[in-house]
Symmetry: C2
């Protein structure tokens, strides 16, 4: 068996941290289809100015620039919690009896508990640099909201977070975390927006969705002086910021003399996997190296594996431009029994294009086996993984067990996006055997996909 | 100003991790007074065998051995989550405008979220090595219980945790964490022990105390075949295991060309501070180096600053041998409004002796300023500190502000023992302005101190 002298946790020195983000689009043979306005014409950078601050609108539309300098102030915050460790799961390998080498990039060592802080810091920085006074956003499971609250507080920006009502009720601690950073947290749908009021009028018990919370946050951003909207996943700009994950990983692997054969990552909107694969996909597209990339999604929200590659709105209120992506329809809502995030109806247009063009694979997994994998991991690796991240753990274990059968010494890398301290009710359900799995029926999907806009199709 | 080229987070390589614990007693000019049996005679190692496994009973009584080899299996688990980072709080220094250099050793990067895992792994290892099948313990805030659940699960030991009833009710997530690692968690007082039944008979609403939970856990340990009891603080053996914190810190400081002028640590039973100072106190006692050591305790449980240095029981049920320590009386219970741990009536006999002999200082702080410091820290350092650790943050800030006045470039080191993800209700109280401070009156203390045993006095 090949011996690689990897420590359990490999930390780069902060001076080795990459100082530029990598723009995955710059290396793609074919670009993702352009964003469209509701009338079917191509959206331009200026069309985004009412929603995003200018620097971020530019990053959203800029497919050409290969590397983007990370601003000094962003770097100085990154250095407080980064570089994040590249970990070798020796005990998991041993437990599984696999010849595969299992690595994971762990992004949970910061207060927000996830990789979301990487983009939150960047987005808050640019908003502040342009003289904005406040930002709005939505949050589901709460990781993004927490990260952004932290970043906004750092730069002295006001922040309004629309939190999916059912999450706000189930996760009061997430709300307190955000409030500890002075964010204003409103359960969505709320009576503070036209979108929210209309939904509440139709159904006072509406428990909310990510798509609705996005609509509310955008409405407030575009109607409040000095405010803009920010989003924690899906967007091209977010994948750009998250490339720091992959760039650090690439460097750490170089030090070890390793290169991944397979990269596994969970996908809700795609920010983690898009960031993790950035430099590896660059080399794969360029034909320099080969790596299999596996996106793992919950069976209850299967955008890649059962969705359509089509133009769709990014929000339920249908107020955003249209993006071509794998989608379940903007009205799709995963079953309420699904724990954690990964509930978005669509998917990063960049990842969607890569998947469509055959550069990556996707699998879906049900949540009980995901929690079984999470529990195994927690007792071997002294990290309690977030349910989201645990999708990747489950798929990694499956891959490692296949290596056991074939005897292949594959190098497997997965993204451990965060910790599960706020998801203990879900762990409790699993411990007690009351966790259920529910996947949408074909009829469910047909209904929500029927609603796809007929534009750009 | 002196320039020290410290990274924000200094991680030693795992190969640099110390392979021996340091026994603080071996360097002391005068040893702590011996443990006594209730009849006033000196306890011998054998007297502890019914309670502790033999290796740990030996460590408890062995004042002579200077360095103890860390067993291979313990080292291999340490390497999964250690060495822990020595962090430089640049942003806090800048915010305070202090010429002091502020460092902290952060122990929160493991599932248990605190330094407690260092001793839990060791104690579970020795129990397993002697062929025991189970262990019992108590937990208050829940950090120790979580750490031990993790360690027991790793070694395949059964674990029963008596959790102070009020904590079990206020912190359901801590209970779920322990159950996720297959521990059996019982609210104390319970109907499973004589001690518990007697207390419940007298008062069915008894909300429990750490001292009571200890009595219950010991009762079960000594009456169950193949079981022993383990404790997360106070004991000499625990300070021995926690010396890994200080030994790593010493090495990291050597690399930086630094040496602390002041070491600050929170103290409940003393395990964190005792571990952090180990090598520095060794050199101070030997006259090789000088360092001020400041213990920080909550004003609501002021063992050092308002207790007596006397022989006392370690539990409320008065079933343990007697230790000479700073104590508020074994019947003392801090006000229910006090958040977090640091609620023990006594104090490590080693630290008590050092304090008594003038090798260290102690201060007490009220909890509102502690949470103010915690909030400031969280937004500057991207770590949400545990309330316990935040006592040290508060005292460190005070020290750094004194340096600002005097212009002294002191090197301050404090112990950041863990994260506060399970303490958000307390943060919420602070955010809402409903947090209260309550310190015991002189009358309160007189009452609980009147009950001190008249033995060995």
């Amino acid at each position: 068996m090949t011996t690689i002298n990897a420590p359990h946790r490999l930390y780069l020195h902060e001076d080795e941290m990459p100082t530029r983000w990598y723009n995955l689009r710059a290396g793609m043979k074919e670009l993702p289809d352009p964003m469209l306005l509701p009338d079917g014409t191509e959206a331009q950078e200026e069309h985004l100015y009412p929603v995003f601050c200018k620097a971020l609108a530019h990053q959203e539309m800029d497919s050409a620039t290969e590397y983007v300098d990370i601003p000094e102030e962003v770097l100085s915050i990154y250095k407080v919690y980064r570089p994040s460790p590249l970990c070798r799961a020796y005990d998991l390998e041993k437990y599984l009896g696999t010849p595969a080498r299992i690595y994971y990039k762990f992004e949970g060592n910061n207060t927000s508990g996830s990789h979301k802080l990487n983009s939150a810091v960047a987005q808050a920085y640019y908003a502040k640099a342009e003289g904005l006074t406040g930002i709005t956003t939505e949050t589901g499971a709460g990781q993004w909201g927490t990260a952004l609250a932290e970043a906004a507080r750092y730069f002295g920006l006001d922040l309004i977070v629309y939190m999916v009502k059912v999450s706000a009720e189930q996760k009061p601690f997430r709300k307190i975390m955000m409030e500890t950073f002075e964010a204003k947290v409103l359960a969505s749908p709320s009576d503070t927006t036209n979108v929210g009021r209309a939904l509440l009028e139709a159904d006072p018990d509406n428990s909310g969705s990510l798509g609705t919370a996005i609509s509310e946050a955008i409405e407030v951003a575009v109607t409040t002086e000095g405010y803009r909207y920010v989003l924690g996943s899906v967007l091209n700009q977010v994948l750009l910021h998250q490339s720091i994950i992959g760039l650090e990983t690439e460097l750490a692997f170089e030090k070890l003399g390793e290169y991944p054969d397979v990269i596994v990552g969970c996908t809700g909107g795609g920010s983690n996997l898009g960031g993790l694969i950035a430099p590896f996909m660059r080399d794969k597209i360029a034909g320099k190296k080969d790596v299999r990339v596996v996106a793992v999604e919950p069976a209850s929200c299967p955008s890649f594996t059962r969705g359509e590659y089509a133009y769709d709105f990014c929000d339920t209120g249908k107020t955003t431009p249209l993006a071509r992506m794998y989608t379940l329809g903007s009205g799709f809502r995963p079953s309420a029994n699904h724990a954690g995030g990964l509930r978005y109806h669509g998917m990063s247009p960049i990842l969607s294009k890569l998947y469509h063009d055959g550069y990556m694979e996707a699998v879906s997994v049900e949540q009980s086996p995901v929690f079984e994998a999470a529990k195994l991991f927690s007792r071997l690796e002294t990290i309690l993984p977030a349910p989201e991240s645990s999708h990747a753990i489950k798929a990694t274990i499956d891959e490692a067990l296949r290596c056991k059968e074939t005897g292949e010494e594959k190098t497997i890398l997965f993204g451990l996006t965060g910790t599960g301290y706020f998801d203990l009710n879900a762990y409790d359900q699993y411990n007690k055997g009351t966790m259920t799995d529910r996947v949408p029926t074909d009829d469910d999907l047909m209904k929500s996909l029927k609603d796809l806009p007929q534009i750009g199709a």
